[in-house]
């Protein structure tokens, strides 16, 4: 696989020029950026001398399932924590549903549900009491709790565990309960930090189906993971981070095309003969098929793109950075 110079593939990477200070937007009013649930510009977060997030320009389309991909220490959790009003950016600007989390954290919290990577539970609470506590914490009237809790437990398939103590649940169930907690105030944006870590394969499939269902309900979902297979099927857009920098962002296919990373096309002809071809774009792919069928008159019975998926994309992009 060919390595790439990050400077050439990073369509959304760091740009030169002065960075906005922490209070650069302190007098701005919240304005929904049309079509964007999250919009960051030159976002930075440093811990002492460590730059965890380095001039990140992230744009998360409303209604998308957005995967934030990167190895451990890439800056994913710090980025999401800033989105979730838990961390203050060192510099740069950040808008979540049109509001600056630094100036209007409660506005952001009303419209965003956050599920951290660590699942903390209250040992002595029942499942329904756990959700009722968070319903109360979001100011939801008590009369609405029964219906709300029933609906959430049904959604995350924990109805039968309604009266179970939280500490008796399996990890997968706790993850689903944590997701239900993040949904308790019906947010438009869900921010999930490594939601599938530590889950068994069945629990991962169930989580994936659940997230797909939530997306169909109109929620924007931002999900971080370093396990690419679990994001592959569900994400409409991805962003790839490494060492605090955003290397690429957009629909996976678009990133592939921008990279010119190439696709491998497997062709099977009548009689069983097979060939593989490399193309870079949709146009080249169409031209290949036309040439084989029209110009050469060969009997093509199978024409398949052998995509390496997110894993190949990730390796293609990040390989050039790690020298």
């Amino acid at each position: 696989m060919t390595g790439h110079d990050p400077a050439t593939i990073s369509t959304v990477g760091p740009t030169a020029g002065p960075t906005a200070g922490p209070t650069a937007n302190s007098t701005e009013q919240a304005v929904d950026t049309p079509g964007l649930a999250i919009n960051t510009s030159q976002l930075c977060k440093t811990y002492g001398t460590l730059r965890a997030v380095d001039h990140v320009d992230l744009r998360v389309p409303t209604g998308s399932v957005f995967g934030l991909i990167g190895p451990n220490g890439a800056g994913k959790s710090s980025t999401l924590a800033m989105v979730a009003t838990l961390l203050r950016p060192t510099s740069g600007s950040l808008e979540v549903m049109g509001a600056d989390p630094r100036r209007m954290p409660r506005t952001v919290r009303r419209r965003m549900g956050y599920m951290p990577d660590a699942l903390g539970v209250y040992d002595s609470l029942r499942v329904d009491e756990y959700l009722q506590f968070f319903a109360a914490s979001y100011g939801i009237p008590r009369r609405e709790w029964p219906e709300l809790v029933d609906g959430l437990l049904e959604l995350v398939d924990l109805g039968v565990k309604r009266s179970a103590m939280v500490n008796s649940l399996s990890r997968g169930m706790k993850q689903r309960l944590s997701l239900a907690r993040a949904l308790v105030h019906d947010p438009e944006l869900l921010v999930l930090d490594e939601p599938a870590s530590g889950l068994d394969p069945r629990a991962r499939v169930e989580l994936r189906e659940l997230l797909a269902a939530l997306n169909r309900m109109g929620k924007t979902i931002v999900i971080s993971s370093h396990i690419l297979a679990e994001l592959e099927e569900m994400c409409s857009d991805v962003a790839i981070m490494e060492a605090g920098r955003l290397l690429a962002s957009g629909p996976p296919r678009q990133i592939f095309d921008q990279l010119g990373a190439g696709r491998t096309i497997r062709v099977r002809f009548a009689g069983g003969e097979t060939e593989t071809h490399s193309v870079a774009t949709d146009d080249e792919q169409a031209e290949l098929l036309r040439r084989l069928v029209v110009d050469e008159g060969r009997a093509v019975v199978e024409f398949t793109e052998q995509s390496g998926g997110l894993e190949q994309l990730f390796l293609t992009i990040t390989e050039g950075l790690v020298q």
């Binding site: 838990l86 919290r109 903390g120 209250y122 506590f133 914490s137 907690r181």
Partner: protein, 309 residues
């Protein structure tokens, strides 16, 4: 009209009542109180039941011993029961999900303090039968009883708030607990130690009579309780709070009726026996310190995104 209970309070009460430790603490608290009451009764076992004057003194002694032991037990248990309030949430990684709800930092602190105070209230209420026994023996009025319960509750609230604020700033339960017990010990011994140091310094300069500002003695929960509950006349030496109050008034009179080093005028007020309520003065100072601690605690509960504004 619906009454909205602080969500943190509701959750904490549920958790505490399901936790076996609460009942263990309640048992130890009552056991020690009963032991103290038993020792008072046993020490006066030879009293003729028709000697009403002595029975009255026993009733008074029993009442003051129960209030004093109750106060000390509250000061012993509050750090242990409250130190984990927020440090425990941090350790269990449950604080962040709570911080990003619509609850404000002060609501989190108030919820935790109220939950701890509810339990302290339970401890105090459970001691009522012993106070009633003292009342039946005599020497104690209903007002005395209310003052005793009130001052223990007030000092308990202040200490609980301070310890909760300590917990809000701590990362670990262990460090929060150590700091809370250190703070409690400081609150209990700082005033007597300061008193001794000032007197020693004064003596070394040859001052006669030795002048220790009365307010120094009031910055202590035991002296605050003594001033609120004790009888000014002093009563018997067995009644600890009355004896302490009598000693404080004597010291205040010896000092010409001054609370501090600076005299407000040259008039000699040593004949006065109705000083400004010392318990109120001490409580106000303690309240001020607690308010400062609570403010710092609330700041620590803001997320960094809010806190650095």
């Amino acid at each position: 009209m619906s009454l909205r209970v602080n969500p943190v309070l509701g959750r904490e009460l549920r958790e505490r009542m399901r936790n076996g430790r609460s009942f263990w603490v309640l048992g130890v608290f009552l056991g020690l109180l009963v032991l103290a009451a038993y020792l008072v009764i046993e020490a006066n076992a030879s009293i003729n039941s028709f000697d009403l004057a002595r029975l009255t003194r026993v009733g008074r002694t029993l009442f003051e011993v129960v209030v004093l032991v109750m106060l000390l037990l509250v000061f012993f248990f509050v750090p242990g029961l409250t130190a984990a309030a927020f440090a425990g949430e941090r350790e269990r990684q449950t604080l962040q999900p709570m911080q990003i709800t619509l609850l404000r930092p002060h609501q989190l602190l108030v919820g935790k303090v109220l939950a701890s105070m509810s339990f302290i209230g339970l401890l105090i209420v459970s001691a009522l039968p012993m106070l009633v026994a003292a009342y039946l023996l005599g020497g104690v009025t209903v007002t005395d009883g209310l003052a005793g319960l009130g001052i223990v509750a007030l000092l308990g609230v202040l200490l609980t708030t301070m310890v909760a604020a300590v917990s809000a700033r701590a990362r670990r339960v262990q460090s929060a607990t150590l700091t809370a017990y250190g703070l409690t010990l400081l609150i209990l011994v700082a005033s007597p130690v300061a008193f001794l140091i000032i007197r020693t310094v004064d003596q070394s300069t040859g001052n006669d009579p030795v002048r220790v500002p009365s307010i120094v003695g009031l910055l202590n929960p035991v002296t605050i309780a003594a001033d609120a509950v004790g009888s000014p006349a002093g009563g018997s030496a067995d009644a600890p709070l009355s004896a302490l109050k009598h000693a404080m008034i004597t010291a205040w009179q010896d000092d010409g009726g001054h609370w501090a080093w600076w005299p407000s005028d040259d008039q000699d007020r040593s004949d006065r026996t109705d000083p400004f309520p010392g318990w109120l003065l001490g409580s106000l100072v303690a309240g001020g310190v607690t308010a400062l601690g609570a403010w710092r605690g609330v700041r620590a509960l803001r997320t960094p995104a809010e806190a650095e504004r």
